[in-house]
Symmetry: C2
């Protein structure tokens, strides 16, 4: 990777989507369909440059686009393709600007790929970074909004030609509320664009290098599989992730509520964890992991389920009774663990006021101080 | 009233709001609060000219604004005042035009007054006419949309400062769906603006003279009360309305569903109607009146409940057990009884596919052909 960035190759798409699926921490939507669409565009001659954050100029105008809806739906309802582009044009017109590059709000899951697709259509580069370093279920849960981006305007577009512009919203929570309900009307799968940002701001608040990180994680998984190595072990070594549980899915409860996939999964330990129980709470993404009733990892740290044998990232909509999983955790980026960030993406923001965020890497007695399950 | 129109006097406001309440056919929101706000503005020096339809020029640009939400809520949640004005600015900016006059989409209920308030703030005249000649519960149910107004753009604004622009909607049903859900988010009471129209189009499709009609109806009620005449009788004589039932409210079922007040009222006959039963179906407005199981009046014809003693229009949210009511009917304007119009505002559009619209004035055997209750 040169300081001038690199051009995305067709062979990058599979590892990128695989790594993004893992960083989706169970949610963020399945990037596979988006990956196929991106491959199609590259084969037709489109070219997308991935631009390192340091190559962004202070005066650049950076747009952010992504899909919005319920991941359960996006698997079955394939996008028309240009939803995000139409939403982008909506905010550009409302602000009377044109963006010079795009950035993902959310590297985890399908929203790693959506800006790449829009960039391919619009002939724009994509900045190597995002606003979450993972996936989160709601719009305001990105560093862009946490650190003060004006939430007006935003725009949402569907496959039928509808474009709704949130011209003036009082705060990012209103933006999320309006957009979520319109997304449900639009069939729970739509394209979304937030207010374009100055390059200087993006350089200050974006989680850096996360597209490349996804690419490397996916590459590790594919390489380990090709060499018939233990994928989970290779991933732990490569990423510094911690293995928290190995178990069999004993029960999955999941329902679509207000545009979100809400629920939980129960796991019965196998191998080193035989005799133990784990529970994972879900709002699109994995939120909290309890092992034998004690919180082991909690949002915003990353909780990821992998198929024990293949290392395949298992998103929440793929969870099935009987699957054997490894549950691993990775510390969240510092930008999403500040006091400001924890107000928006800490356990209390997700309905767990009884949990005090204990970051991965902190002494386990701190992490175990709040009990649940 | 000169061909150049007339300036609204403070003394016009009470009769106007009373007549509008009656033309609301049970819905359209209570115009009383809006009337008080209009009085305040006139007292502060605002002046609003009511412009006859024939005074509109073909090239004029006419805006249409109104409140959107559930009437049940608008009684309790008082508007900030400039919601409709902010929505109007939203569509003006989206279309890059400035309107030269306003028109009500719906003379019935509070939306007779909303354009007057917005006109007072913006220094615009109001056209004497509307798109319904009554009240209907949904946006697309106006002659403006029935006869082909492009539903893009529309805009909605609340009391907090949120403004959402429906920049491109596939059809008027999508506009209604999006706007209704955002209105619910906004607390079920918001200001709405539809796409500004050419004067030539408004002259062709607006129901003419309905503000003046409301003013005259209200004047008749107030005059009859002042003279201690029988208000219902005077109204029948003045408007050509037909008395269909006199009865006591025996039961009211009403619930807020998806932003609408849905339900029905049961009446037990009194006086000439002793021994008979009536039922009125409600979606914000009175939709169908059955007398002893036979449809007597049906949408889009106007079904209006008045307190038997005082002639006070009784909106659906005011219905109470034990009230003594006169139920009267008035034929809808021809513009809302064409085959095109009946597709949008006929009985089937309101969930009564078994009822074939039999207009008031047609032979009663036709009207009674479809049975219900």
């Amino acid at each position: 990777m040169s300081p001038r960035g690199y051009v995305l190759e067709e062979s990058d798409l599979l590892p990128l989507s695989l790594g993004a699926a893992l960083l989706g921490t169970g949610g963020g939507g399945n990037p596979y369909v988006g990956m196929l669409r991106a491959r199609e565009l590259l084969r037709k001659g489109a070219s997308v440059e991935i631009l390192p954050l340091e190559a962004v100029h202070d005066d650049d105008v950076i747009g952010s686009v992504g899909g919005i809806g319920a991941p359960v739906v996006s698997v079955e309802k394939i996008k028309q393709g240009q939803e995000c582009l139409r939403a982008l044009r909506g905010v550009e017109e409302a602000m009377n600007v044109r963006v010079s590059a795009l950035i993902s709000a959310e590297v985890g899951g399908s929203n790693s790929i959506e800006p790449i697709l829009t960039a391919a259509y619009a002939g724009l580069p994509v900045v190597d970074g995002d606003g979450m370093g993972r996936a989160f279920p709601e719009i305001q849960m990105s560093t862009f909004f946490i650190y003060g981006l004006d939430p007006s305007p935003g725009a949402i577009a569907d496959d039928k030609g509808n474009v709704v512009v949130f011209k003036k919203v009082v705060d990012m929570f209103w933006l999320e509320r309006f957009a979520r309900h319109i997304a449900v009307d639009m069939g729970a799968a739509a394209g979304f664009a937030t207010a374009p940002m100055k390059g200087a701001y993006v350089k200050r608040v974006a989680v850096p290098g996360t597209l490349t990180q996804a690419l490397e994680i996916g590459g590790t998984i594919l390489d380990a599989r090709a060499r018939r190595h233990n994928v989970v072990e290779r991933l732990l070594a490569k990423t510094g992730a911690t293995l928290f549980f190995t178990g069999k899915v004993a029960d999955v409860r999941r329902e679509l509520r207000g545009g979100f996939a809400m629920g939980e999964a129960m796991l019965t330990g196998v191998g080193d964890h035989a005799g133990s129980q784990a529970r994972v709470a879900i709002q699109n993404e994995n939120l909290v992991l309890w092992v034998d009733g004690t919180p082991a990892v909690m949002v915003p740290d990353l909780i990821m389920n992998l198929e024990l044998e293949t290392g395949e990232p298992i998103t929440t909509e793929m969870l099935r009774y009987g699957q054997q999983l490894a549950v691993i955790g990775i510390p969240a980026h510092d930008l999403i663990k500040t006091p400001e960030a924890l107000k928006i993406v800490g356990p209390a923001a997700f309905g767990y006021p009884e949990l005090t965020f204990a970051p991965l890497g902190a002494p386990s007695d701190v992490r175990a101080s709040a009990e649940g399950c």
